[in-house]
């Protein structure tokens, strides 16, 4: 079963806070990370079908071949990381993706800090990052620079070094947008998020990455 993984935190406390038990992102007995099952509408993650394992090849049909790179790419859905230090914002954005983007998004992982995001990007490939900007310790800009540059302190998988990154922020003035572009972000979506603008940004990012 695919899972939505979350590390919860509060801006001022050194240890993670515990939202109410009824919250969609309520913590379990483990305060720092927990998982929750994805709805049945989200297909579980898995490897893209290999040429020898496509259903049609097994059945011996000469129908659609699912083993060409383009067809595999079209079939494979997107794995998204959301980075935001505010659990309310994380809840809303992940719910939006769950409700409105099941056509293109396979799995969403949420991180509550830039540091956690970099640690995850060292070991797991992602196709898209939705990045908050104003976060403590490492801002979204600093995190993006670290992703693009892959230092010894924060080594990043090669695939992730060029992953499309979209800023999701209230800091969306012209100068700030220019800065986001300069450090390697593809687009900026303003908060509070308007669904149509989020879709436009995500689709644009996925096209640009192909």
């Amino acid at each position: 079963m695919s899972t939505l993984s979350l590390s919860s935190s509060h801006p001022s406390s050194p240890s993670p806070s515990s939202p109410s038990p009824s919250s969609p992102l309520s913590s379990s007995s483990c305060p720092s990370t927990f998982s929750m099952p994805m709805p049945a509408s989200i297909t579980p993650p898995g490897s893209p079908p290999s040429p020898t394992m496509s259903v049609d090849s097994i059945r011996g049909h000469n129908a659609l071949r699912l083993d060409s790179p383009l067809e595999l790419d079209q079939q494979r859905k997107t794995k998204v990381m959301i980075v935001d230090d505010n659990s309310i914002n994380l809840s809303i954005l992940s719910r939006m993706l769950e409700k409105h983007f099941t056509d293109i998004i396979q799995l969403t992982v949420v991180m509550t800090s830039g540091v956690e995001a970099l640690q995850r990007l060292a070991t797991e490939e992602f196709d898209l990052i939705l990045m908050d900007i104003d976060m403590p310790v490492l801002t979204g800009v600093q995190t993006t620079v670290a992703i693009r540059q892959s230092t010894s302190e924060y080594p990043i998988l090669k695939h992730n070094q060029s992953v499309p990154i979209i800023a999701v922020t209230t800091s969306d003035g012209a100068e700030q947008r220019e800065l986001y572009q300069q450090v390697g972000m593809l687009d900026c979506v303003s908060k509070p998020i308007v669904l149509s603008k989020l879709r436009s940004a995500i689709e644009g990012a996925m096209k640009a990455s192909r």
């Binding site: 009824s22 309310i88 809840s91 403590p136 669904l195």
Partner: protein, 176 residues
């Protein structure tokens, strides 16, 4: 819950605010600071508490005939806001302006995400005052001015939050 900021501060702060605010445009949030908190449900609709475009978008993400997602989100927000107000009061005790600015920014984000217009605007002001800037975030202000403005703002913000909390609780009680 009661505000912990001094009740005498607002009258002095209002004088300072009026002196500094000469070039600022009047905002809905300022009206809230000068009037009694409305309790009539009809007044809530016209009082700018909720941006319905944003809030309705949240409701649309609920499952049919079930507001569990948005309800738990809102109750999470209540918990987050209460804790943040405590942290703000602690930061105020220490006159930790950077921390106040950071906390203002933090709560601004979630307030905006739920469409809580007045609270969001006050959080934005706190963010600016904590950076020793005026309400628009443009002109510099002194530490003393920032302290006076923030003390009054915390009282105002708490009042606006209470108003929003009451509105939301009435809304969700009506959904049961």
């Amino acid at each position: 819950m009661t505000a912990t900021s001094p009740t005498q501060a607002p009258s002095t702060a209002e004088t300072v605010i009026n002196n500094i605010k000469g070039t600022e445009e009047p905002e809905v949030a300022d009206k809230g600071a000068e009037t009694e908190t409305e309790t009539d449900a009809d007044e809530f609709e016209d009082n700018g508490i909720i941006d319905h475009t944003t809030f309705d978008q949240l409701l649309e993400m609920d499952d049919e005939e079930d507001h569990e997602f948005s309800r738990s989100l809102v109750w999470n927000y209540f918990e987050q806001a209460e804790k943040t107000f405590v942290d703000m009061d602690d930061a105020m005790e220490k006159l930790d302006f950077p921390d106040l600015s950071r906390l203002g920014h933090f709560l601004k984000g979630s307030s905006a995400a739920l469409g809580l217009t007045k609270v969001k605007e006050s959080c934005e002001k706190l963010q600016h005052y904590g950076n020793r800037k005026d309400a628009a975030g443009v002109e510099s202000i002194t530490n003393d001015e920032a302290e006076t403005l923030i003390r009054a703002l915390l009282v105002q913000m708490r009042r606006e939050y209470n108003e929003a909390e009451s509105y939301l609780k009435v809304f969700y009680d009506g959904q049961e």
